[in-house]
């Protein structure tokens, strides 16, 4: 039995029939082929699947697609505007905040929410804010710097 869902993703509305048990992350990856959102675990622990739901960071493996119906989702693919990278994307590039890149979309989505609530976080606040996201490559050192880079950049242009 499939049920209808209507979810706006990166500004575009999608009407689809899905199994009621389908997780939002599978909806994004498989129904929409937006594969920038990753799956790193089965316990909602790694944060690789982080997206924004109505502007708030959310682990998309922790919600059913049907629960997101009528709501608006932003994924990593929706962060840049045209050729212009989001300051966080730029920050991760400039400060070498990624290696294999697998955790990166989730990190960026998590950090974007963090900076919205706290535009000028301390190192400790950044580290605390990343608590729900694993990175096995960078040791977090440069991820912290990447977020600081973005915070500075966003403040300058604010």
């Amino acid at each position: 039995m499939k049920v209808p869902v209507s979810i706006t993703v990166n500004g575009k509305q999608y009407d689809k029939m899905v199994e009621p048990r389908m997780l939002l992350v599978y909806f994004i990856r498989e129904e929409l082929a937006l594969t920038g959102t990753h799956i790193g675990c089965d316990t909602s622990s790694c944060g690789a699947c982080t997206v924004h739901l109505d502007g708030k960071a959310l682990k998309s493996c922790s919600m059913l697609a049907v629960q997101a119906s009528g709501k608006s989702v932003t994924t990593i693919e929706g962060m840049a505007s045209g050729e212009n990278l989001h300051p966080l994307q730029e920050g991760f590039h400039m400060e070498h905040g990624l290696q294999c890149g697998f955790c990166t979309p989730g990190m960026i989505m998590c950090a974007a929410d963090m900076l919205k609530n706290n535009p000028n976080p301390t190192e400790e606040e950044i580290r605390h804010g990343l608590e729900g996201n694993f990175c096995r490559c960078t040791g977090y050192h440069n991820i912290v710097k990447s977020i600081q880079y973005a915070a500075n950049k966003m403040q300058e242009s604010a």
Partner: protein, 787 residues
């Protein structure tokens, strides 16, 4: 122009930060099916029956394969790629590792059936309906228990579960006698616990048999596509190698766990020809926990003997190395040639003997994990050094400095020959420790430590000075040591008619940034802009051959292969240039992308020469057209990076919580192509090494269940568990490869673990303990303080 040595931003970043990375699980092929494995929930159990009748009829199910099918197809299983012989010369025990087990499950997660359906959800539903009847047997997970008489037998034909035993160094009797007569002997018995690699991308594989071309393609999250192809073709499935393409696309971290050839890779390839549709399998995280080869898992007794002045006289080490249920691809090499050989460390120890028993247990296989053997060797030596210093009332830094090998550059002075079969290439060990002491502000720290006495906090400092053997490896040497493969690397430098350059490398990047650092090398050596260079890797149809990435080998071996090809390109280019300039080759200089007749302003550019090579109208007689060269580079020796790691911990007395306050790392990885990337490698390595010290570790219960087999239960460092790292480096070039590089991928992990434990021990020195077991959790520390 110089790219080499500068922190060029990574060219691969763009696709990852915009969500366009292409990992195996992102690939969707027409008509693709999805596989879910039925896995044993028991660590040790006979399989009485497997009933697929009901599952087969479920919605969407395409096919179910069991061990009977793979047995009937005559598939023997995945092989081991490294042979180690028993001390008495017998060949190691190498029981088969079937793709699907039909007789007995030997660890939790052993695969019994592969269920294939139109969607993954359907495959998973049907897998749950496969009924397996088991006769559960007693299990053994600990290598010490496994060696005892009467212990459960993992393989019927491997008595006492001993895969092999092995010894290296000076005669044991001589070492024992030196220890018996020594002024001071430090003894440690410890467990270097099993850790799980946990690359954040779970393993994934897609098998595709293309009936139009009778050709197989395997997309897999691997660190070495060509080796997987070789093993698949020559050992597992008997496929014609020219009809098999293996692609390692973007790979989300490896750390060793993606070096090996796994059963699922062979299953999806074989199965795709049976059902004539592509099959995708992607591990769920809890599946990764019980099927990815793990790391470490040593039980060791080690003794270090000193004279009255603190000079090291002798070292003995006895280790039980847990192999898990089967021998994984490189497993036998890890406790032996990658561990025993490193026990010289940075010290002049004149007598060393190491003895290893490699043991089967009912656990997931153990193989190389970032550092592979070298972290275990460093842990052994560096825990001994700090313990010895404490026991003898010596300063741990001074005790090390006193015992360091004198500097040698490997050019004027010979490489240092160890007691354990290696010749170090070049080394200058004092400066890394001295720089570390400077950075940490050693005297000030000791004052702070004193000042903290009587407060609620305990401060401790721990040292670790390490050496590693990287740039793996000279083929003839490793062949003599049991490797069943050559460990050279290949590279093709293809110059296009327009002067743009494609480089095909047999190395594989899964986070290391080869597309940037290799391009820096090429652009510099060829005198052309980096934008004109593209690095291609990971596809056996594009890259002629490769041995992949592990053992910190990519730049030292793979980069050297590229340099060799560049030399050939420039040599031929010079002939073409000489012809165009009507000069002799000997009169030409090449710089900044053009050949100039020495002492004149007559010159011709790289682009013109490239075009001439492909439009050879006005061309040297007898010279072939084209500008395209391949090379194979087989290193002359391993490379030997080294360094000093210093950790400062703060322990909260009331809660036992250990906080890593500062971590200083001074590493010497030889010449550095891209400092930003090298620093990043060190950071990541440090996090993993520190993680092992204070939070990570696989825990098995009596029945052989991995009790912390999820991210909720297995504790890995998160951002707020770690400090920002303080790092620096010295540079002692490698004398035997053209770039002078030594490799940086594993240094952070190799050096860091003992530094943390040593720091905890320093903080707790008032509590009369001799050792503390990793991971050093707050509970253990609390018990020491309050127990």
């Amino acid at each position: 122009m110089s790219y080499i040595g500068s922190s060029v931003k990574r060219v691969e970043d763009k696709r990852f930060i915009t969500g366009q990375g292409r990992y195996t699980d992102d690939i969707v092929l027409p008509q693709m099916t999805y596989a879910c494995m039925v896995r044993s929930p028991h660590a040790h159990a006979e399989i009485v029956s497997v009933d697929i009748a009901h599952a087969e009829k479920m919605d969407g199910v395409v096919k179910i394969f069991t061990g009977k099918d793979t047995d009937a197809a005559g598939i023997g299983g995945v092989p081991c790629g490294w042979q180690v012989d028993f001390k008495n010369g017998d060949t190691m025990k190498e029981p088969p590792h079937p793709l699907l087990v039909s007789d007995k499950a030997r660890h939790v997660g052993d695969a019994i059936a592969m269920v294939i359906a139109d969607t993954y959800a359907q495959a998973k539903d049907a897998a749950e309906m496969v009924t397996v009847e088991y006769n559960v047997l007693p299990a053994v997970t600990n290598s010490k228990v496994a060696r005892a008489d009467g212990a459960p037998q993992v393989h019927a034909d491997v008595p006492n579960n001993l895969a092999f035993d092995w010894e290296l160094g000076n005669p044991r009797a001589e070492v024992d006698a030196a220890i018996a007569g020594a002024h001071h002997v430090t003894t440690l018995e410890f467990i270097n616990q099993r850790v799980i690699c946990n690359a954040i991308e779970p393993r994934s594989a897609i098998g595709h048999f293309d009936t139009a071309y009778d050709k197989y393609t395997l997309y897999t999250s691997t660190q070495n596509p060509h080796l997987i192809r070789l093993l698949l073709c020559a050992f597992v499935l008997g496929l014609p190698e020219h009809k098999v393409r293996v692609v390692g696309p973007d790979v989300g971290g490896g750390f060793g766990s993606k070096i090996f050839h796994y059963t699922e890779e062979a299953l999806v390839v074989w199965g795709s020809n049976q059902i004539k549709r592509p099959i995708k399998w992607t591990a769920e995280r809890s599946e990764s926990f019980v099927t990815d080869a793990a790391g470490r898992d040593h039980i060791t007794t080690a003794k270090m003997a000193f004279d009255k002045d603190g000079n090291i006289l002798a070292l003995s080490a006895d280790t039980l190395a847990n192999m898990g249920a089967y021998l994984s691809t490189f497993a036998p090499a890890v406790p032996t040639w990658l561990h025993g050989t490193l026990l010289q460390g940075l010290y002049t120890t004149p007598l060393i003997n190491v003895s290893i028993d490699a043991v089967f247990t009912n656990t997931t296989a153990v193989d190389a994990y970032r550092g592979a053997g070298r972290p275990e060797a460093t842990y052994l030596l560096e825990r001994l050094m700090d313990t010895a210093a404490l026991e003898m009332g010596r300063d741990p830094a001074e005790l090390r400095l006193q015992n360091f090998i004198e500097p040698f550059d490997g050019v004027e002075e010979e490489g240092y020959v160890t007691q354990v079969a290696l010749q170090y290439d070049s080394g200058n060990y004092g400066p890394v420790l001295k720089r570390g002491l400077e950075m940490v502000g050693y005297e000030q720290f000791r004052a702070d430590q004193k000042a903290a006495e009587g407060t609620g906090k305990l401060l401790g400092i721990g040292f670790s000075t390490y050496i590693e053997a990287c740039g793996i490896a000279p083929s003839a040497v490793v062949g003599a040591l049991g490797a069943r493969a050559g460990l050279f690397e290949s590279a093709q430098v293809q110059v296009h008619p327009t002067g743009k350059v494609s480089v095909f490398s047999g190395s594989h990047s899964h986070g290391q940034g080869h597309e940037t650092s290799f391009a820096q090398v090429v652009a510099d050596k060829m005198g052309i802009p980096m934008e004109d260079v593209e690095i291609i890797h990971g596809d056996s149809d594009a890259v002629a051959f490769g041995m992949g990435t592990y053992g910190s080998r990519s730049l030292a071996v793979g980069g050297s292969a590229i340099v060799k090809s560049i030399e050939k390109v420039l040599e031929k280019g010079a002939k073409i240039a000489a012809h165009l300039l009507e000069a002799s080759v000997d009169d030409l200089d090449y710089a900044e992308g053009k050949w100039t007749v020495r002492g004149t302003d007559k010159s011709v550019g790289f682009g013109d020469v490239s075009l001439t090579a492909y439009v050879p109208h006005n061309y040297p007689e007898g010279l072939e057209p084209g500008l395209d060269f391949s090379s194979f580079y087989d290193p002359a020796n391993f490379t030997y990076p080294f360094g000093c790691h210093i950790c400062i911990v703060e322990i909260d007395k009331e809660t036992g919580v250990v906080k890593v306050k500062r971590f200083i790392a001074v590493d010497d990885v030889g010449n550095v192509i891209n400092p930003m990337i090298v620093d990043g490698q060190i950071h990541g390595g440090l996090a993993q090494g520190i993680g092992q010290a204070f939070c990570e570790g696989a825990v098995y219960d009596e029945s052989g269940q991995l009790v912390n087999g999820t991210y909720m239960d297995y504790v890995m460092p998160r951002a707020d568990d770690l400090p920002s790292f303080e790092i620096d480096r010295t540079v002692t070039p490698c004398p035997h490869n053209p770039l002078g590089v030594k490799g940086a991928g594993e240094a952070g992990t190799i050096g860091s673990t003992p530094a943390v434990v040593n720091a905890v021990m320093d903080a707790l020195k008032g509590y009369g303990i001799h050792d503390v077991e990793m991971p050093v959790t707050s509970q253990k520390v609390w018990n020491i303080i309050h127990g």
